[in-house]
Amino acid sequence: MNAESLALLLAATLNAGTVVALASLGLIINERAGVLNLGAEGMMLVAAIAGYAASVHTGSDWVGFGAGVLAGAVLAVVFGWLVIWLNTNQYATGLALSLFGAGLSAFAGIAYTQQRLAERPHFAVPGLADVPFLGTAIGHQHPLVYGTIALAAALAWWLTRTRGGLVLRAVGESPESAHALGYPVRRIRLLAVAAGGALCGLAGAYISLVYTPLWVEGMVAGKGWIALALTTFATWRPARVLLGAYLFGGVTMLQFQLQGQGVQIPSQWLTMLPYLATILVLVLISRNPIWIRINMPASLGKPFQP
């Protein structure tokens, strides 16, 4: 592999990793508050078509991203209202959201399978874009790729260094104590769920607008579930989410690299790789249940009624 193709692989890795990183950072927010949302896949699908449709009609990707964020947040609020106020089972409700999102996006997307987006903008970081190797690897990325890294840093700081982050974690670790201290546990949880949905929505819109700029039914292809696995892998820490997401992106992109190198493996086996890698990572990380229990928000998945 020469330097040029390595740089291209790095660029593709960052691009693919951004999708799962965005979603997983969002899921960390609501899981740190004690709410498990298995509906990530559904929110991302609906956001992908919402973003795509908005971009087709307005010609602006940023409106598309806005639509995706809004779609994700709205679905998350519906989910949040059910699990936080009506105390429905978090597993079942999240699953319902994923199934509903798959159906709704397929239905809404039919009119858009033939539509094309406006010409894709090309990005270049001034001063970096022309540097050999680095320019190809990181100089021409979508602004959201850098934004995701900044977001991870900001989230890590917010969770551990601010009062707001402390309250969020308190709600996730011991909602009873947080309630006794006078914090509105349910409202905080709903906000956290909405924030998680918004970021999943951003990730979904990134898929249909940047990653594979078109709309295909079911195009999220399990990335929402992989993002959920990633939160455990990252032990609910933003920096490790980035690491895991880029690892995942690397595995996803390796298949194209291998095909480009003329490796004689049927494409289906290569497409399996990210899913098998996710299982492998889950197995490795879950081997030590005590370590998971120490790191997991103590009230994750458990309802709270004041």
Partner: protein, 356 residues
Amino acid sequence: MLRLEPRAAPSKALTLLSPLIALGITVAVGAALFLVLGKDPLLALRLFFVEPLKSAYALSELSLKATPLVLIALGLSACFRANLWNIGAEGQFILGAVCAGGVAMHATPDTGHWFVVPVLLAGAAGGMAWAGIVAALRDRFHASEILVSLMLVYVAEMFLSYLVYGPWKDPAGYNFPQTITFLEASRVPRLFAGLRVNWGLVIALVAVGGFAVFLFRSLPGFQLQVGGLAPAAARYAGFSSRKALWTALLLSGGMAGLAGALDVAGPQGQLTPYVPMGYGFAAIIVAFVGRLNPVGIVFSAILMSMFYIGGEMAQSRLGLPKALTGVFQGLLLFALLACDTFIHQRLRWARSRHER
């Protein structure tokens, strides 16, 4: 202000009424959706709830679609009762179809009709093996069965695709991604001449009885449910949680695999990339709407089957996309979960005690 408070005992009436209320909500939203889309809601609803019951042919198609849903949902009901979240039944269905297909392709024109038995058994074994991976990783490494079972759906889809585009492709199939059409010996016999409904329906009904006995009249079934409801009590009673894990997952994998086998050895007749039709996911909804009860599952599978057939008819007669079915399925589960809240809780008018 209105407050939710726990009931002293779960409401029996609401346990049964809740699916009906949820169906009512789904129908109401559906009718509104049809109005928005500019279609006559009464006409559209007729396609979903009347047409699938109108003739022998329609009933045959209805039961053909309900059969895999019943089989998969029965297995899932055991899993969900044990508090195990196997959401990858779709993958187990595919593996069942693949293994059944692998055996079915070996029939020759001289093979007797007994050959369908090993075909179906291979399917059940395939589904069991696929769910067995989930059980093994959960048992040995504590890996989440939710995520592992779901990841394996994508792996199974790719495996099927590899087979039908690669080694199993019909050499005389004009390069279409499909296997040979299975010979008569490996096909599930039909019940009535001229109708597609086959012995799968009988198998499903027997399975309903079998599951009713297993869940409500057998020790392993009881142990499994205690483990789901009260893990501490199960431990104290000496019920093995590992045994429950393996029982529930192998059982549900086997049922999903059997459903896959019946589908390819029945109406489909060959393996194609279109074998996975979402039955594995729809069966999750069937299991919940059927109250995780074998008899309830029969009714909810019929309902879900109506959604499928209604969606197809809405496409052919009203020009609406078939994807409507998925919207209604998701909506039904959402509505059901919301209604179920009131089984264990009730609304009370309380003096404003603000939650700060």
